[in-house]
């Protein structure tokens, strides 16, 4: 008869914190469709407002470029797996959690762990481990 709780708690899915690796180039590429339009609109507006020739083009490029850069920096916050497309991420997470319910064959387990890592989630037993230790302590030293 086992005298202690099971030593291998079921793994839990915990959302990992998104990485702070802000890739500016990626942000600029993502915002390029809007950014390239913004540069054109600003250049046109500067010309209409009274700046002629090359000065209008340079001013438009500078102001439009800054606006694009700001967009690119802001977009980097939405490039992680859990934020780039929230609905798909949520759907994938739901499917992964459903998969955890039943027994997992060995061949699939390693693939599952790799998938979890790529999804930016960690299959940790930290919380249940703490809970387990608390329960063990409670069993050994029952409250009087």
């Amino acid at each position: 008869m086992p005298t202690q709780p099971d030593a291998s708690p079921a793994p839990r899915i915990a959302v990992a914190k998104p990485g702070l690796r802000a890739n500016l180039m990626a942000g600029l590429i993502v915002t390029a469709p809007v950014g390239s339009i913004v540069v054109g609109v600003i250049t046109g507006a500067i010309f209409i407002l009274g700046v002629d020739g090359i000065r209008a083009v340079v001013a438009g490029l500078m102001l439009g470029g800054v606006a694009w850069l700001v967009m690119g920096v802001a977009a980097t916050s939405f490039l992680s797996v859990d934020r780039a497309n929230r609905s798909i991420h949520k759907e994938l997470m739901t499917r992964m959690e459903a998969m955890l319910a039943g027994p997992m064959p060995e061949a699939a387990e390693s693939q599952f762990l790799a998938l979890a890592q790529e999804m930016g989630v960690s299959l940790s037993s930290t919380e249940s481990e703490e809970e387990r230790l608390r329960l063990i302590n409670q069993l050994r030293n029952p409250p009087r």
Binding site: R21, N23, M25, A26, I29, V30, A32, P33, V34, S36, I37, V39, G40, T43, G44, F47, I48, D52, G53, I54, A56, V57, A75, T76, F78, L79, S80, V81, A84, N85, S87, I88, H89, E91, L92, R95, M96, A98, M99, G102, P103, M104, P105, A107, A108, Q111, F112, A114, L115, E118, M119
Partner: protein, 289 residues
């Protein structure tokens, strides 16, 4: 490819779906007989509503496999009616190796369905990214047009008129989008394709309107030259005259009409996306886990 960019471009999610499906198939192979029979029934429903290649063969395969599993597990045959082909090809009593074969068959069918769905997802992502690339290139070429006009010293009223034509075309194009969107499927995730199309519409329709506003006066001057007899001269209107709303207010109507011309292209793009989405919806599991 940059790791972050992969998610933003959508390819990463398709890859994750593929990996998830491979795990699901492995898990299915090792599932208990009753679970396998239930999953086979579920896949039968998914196949029946879909356009998966070799659908009939896959359905037959599922029925054969389910019959073997049902017999070996002692499940009532009424749950999974065995087709005549199953009786002819796989007659009871079945043996343990038959069980493995049945499991493999069910896994193969699931793999075929998953692959079909993943291909549709990838097609949506590719279409979205291709459209975004087109937008970037079109916007950059349009910008060069603006730079050319600015550097050539185009008069401001002409520049303003050109922008007015472009905006009229963009508005008409977007209005047309409202009509097209009424029939769009919104329950299926399209990986941002609809948003890319929305961005694409004003740009394309605006440029078409601008082109129309420029071409029609020039062509009409070529078709109906001014003057008399053989000495007829072709007096094409100047660019300054064409891009002057006060002189030619009717050009606004022309711009509006030409703003609708890309609608055939836009609706074709939309119908292609709708087909992929409909394929995904039709091959969906009938009920959630």
């Amino acid at each position: 490819m940059n790791h972050s960019l992969e998610w933003a471009l959508g390819y990463g999610y398709v890859r994750l779906w593929e990996r998830l499906h491979r795990i699901e198939e492995e898990k299915l192979f090792a599932a208990s007989p009753d679970e396998l029979i239930a999953e086979a029934a579920r896949d039968t429903l998914r196949l029946q509503g879909s356009n998966v290649d070799n659908r009939d063969q896959l359905l037959d395969q599922l029925q054969r496999a389910a019959s073997v599993l049902a017999f070996n597990a002692g499940v009532s045959a009424g749950l999974v009616p065995a087709p005549p082909s199953a009786i002819a090809g796989l007659a009871p009593p079945f043996h343990p190796p038959d069980d493995v074969v049945a499991r493999r068959m069910i896994r193969q069918v699931r793999h075929a369905i998953n692959e079909y769905r993943d291909e549709r997802r990838l097609a949506l992502v590719r279409a979205r990214n291709q459209l975004l690339r087109t937008i970037v290139l079109t916007a950059l070429v349009t910008y060069q047009l603006i730079v050319l006009a600015v550097l050539a010293g185009a008069p401001r009223p002409a520049f303003t008129s050109a922008i007015a034509y472009l905006l009229i075309g963009a508005i008409v194009g977007l209005f047309n989008r409202l009509y097209l969107d009424a029939s769009a499927e919104t329950a299926v995730e399209d990986y941002g394709l609809a948003a890319a199309r929305l961005l694409h519409t004003p740009l394309l329709c605006g440029l078409a309107a601008l082109g129309g506003a420029l071409m029609v006066p020039l062509l009409s001057a070529q078709i109906t030259p001014t003057g008399e007899g053989s000495a007829a001269t072709i007096a094409a209107p100047t660019l300054g005259a064409i891009f002057d709303i006060s002189q030619r207010p009717f050009t606004l109507v022309l711009a509006a009409v030409f703003g609708l011309t890309p609608s055939a292209l836009i609706s074709r793009l939309q119908s292609e996306a709708e087909k992929y989405k409909s394929d995904l919806k039709n091959s969906e599991a009938p009920a959630a886990h």
